[in-house]
């Protein structure tokens, strides 16, 4: 576990602070998930298990939504898997950041979420990207599961995150993390193209596919400048 010790030693306060800010938002959404899951009839331990084993907000809320609407378990499973398919290209992109040892890979893979990828890609070099990934990953995993646990127990006492505008915090946070990378023109073109493709396909395709289609935006990448 030497990689973990090395990562911890180098953590900068700034990184910790930024990750903590997002972790707070993740915590709030986690409580919402816990409360909603229980309200939809999912057993408390199952909701907690979902957050620990799946650790993917989008898919988890989709499952709760399908269950609450009385849909089939198969539909929930299929939807969740489609939503999470984007983790494959994400994993390919941050493979070198996660690390080489089997422990790093096995644990690091579980911490792969949109936000940890964004944190990693926002850093200028690999060492910092690795620290960012693991710091954010561990903090967000803790926040998500703690939030779920509290949401499951507190139930109705949990407020509506939408009233606090937390649903705007995530896109804004991701944008703040992505912005430095967008100074490179190829990245800007690809991000814009990807966004447009996803937006156009959102009304047409089931959840998860529009974002995958964004990879078509890579045609805007152009040639590598030497």
């Amino acid at each position: 576990m030497r990689f973990l010790w090395r990562a911890v030693r180098g953590i900068h306060r700034e990184l910790l602070r930024d990750a903590a800010a997002l972790a707070l938002a993740v915590f709030a959404i986690g409580t919402s998930f816990g409360a909603l899951a229980v309200a939809a009839g999912i057993a408390p331990w199952m909701a907690i298990g979902m957050s620990a084993l799946i650790f993917a907000g989008g898919a988890q809320f989709l499952v709760v939504g399908v269950v609450a609407a009385g849909g089939s378990v198969t539909a929930a499973l299929a939807g969740g898997l489609m939503l999470n398919a984007r983790h494959l290209p994400f994993g390919l992109a941050v493979a070198d950041v996660i690390g080489r040892g089997w422990a790093a890979r096995l644990i690091g893979a579980h911490l792969l979420v949109d936000e940890t990828v964004a944190f990693a890609t926002s850093q200028p070099d690999r060492a910092r990207a690795r620290r960012a990934y693991w710091t954010a990953g561990c903090l967000l995993f803790l926040a998500w599961n703690l939030g779920t646990g509290i949401g499951v127990v507190a139930g109705e006492a949990v407020g509506d995150p939408k009233a606090l505008g937390i649903d705007a915090a995530f896109p804004a946070g991701l944008l703040a993390l992505l912005l430095p990378s967008l100074r490179e023109s190829a990245a800007l073109r690809v991000a814009a193209a990807g966004a447009l493709v996803a937006l156009f396909t959102t009304p047409l395709l089931p959840a998860g596919l529009p974002v995958i289609c964004a990879l078509a935006g890579l045609v805007a990448a152009g040639r590598r400048r030497r």
């Binding site: 084993l53 898997l81 290209p89 493979a95 996660i98 009233a163 606090l164 690809v190 996803a198 529009p210």
Partner: protein
Amino acid sequence: MNWFAVLALATGTYAFRLAGPVLRERLHVGEGVQRLLTLGAVALLGALIATSALADGGQFAGWARPAGVAAGALAAWRRLPFVVVVVAAAATTALLRALGVR
């Protein structure tokens, strides 16, 4: 919802997550491919930002959310600290909703 489905979703998701790092080990990718992979992540993140700012499921998320994201984007563009960006976005959206904007 049963445990089989939870474990199936967990396993499938984990397989997606692990596949990347495992595959990268086996395929020695050059700089050009690495660049495309990184740009691929950028494309996905751009798509996530746009869709989560504007859409809720398959529908429009209302005006309050994109307005909040825009406020956060402005703060980010002005290089304000990350915490300020996140708080500005949430606060703007919360304020608009409190004022009755959907």
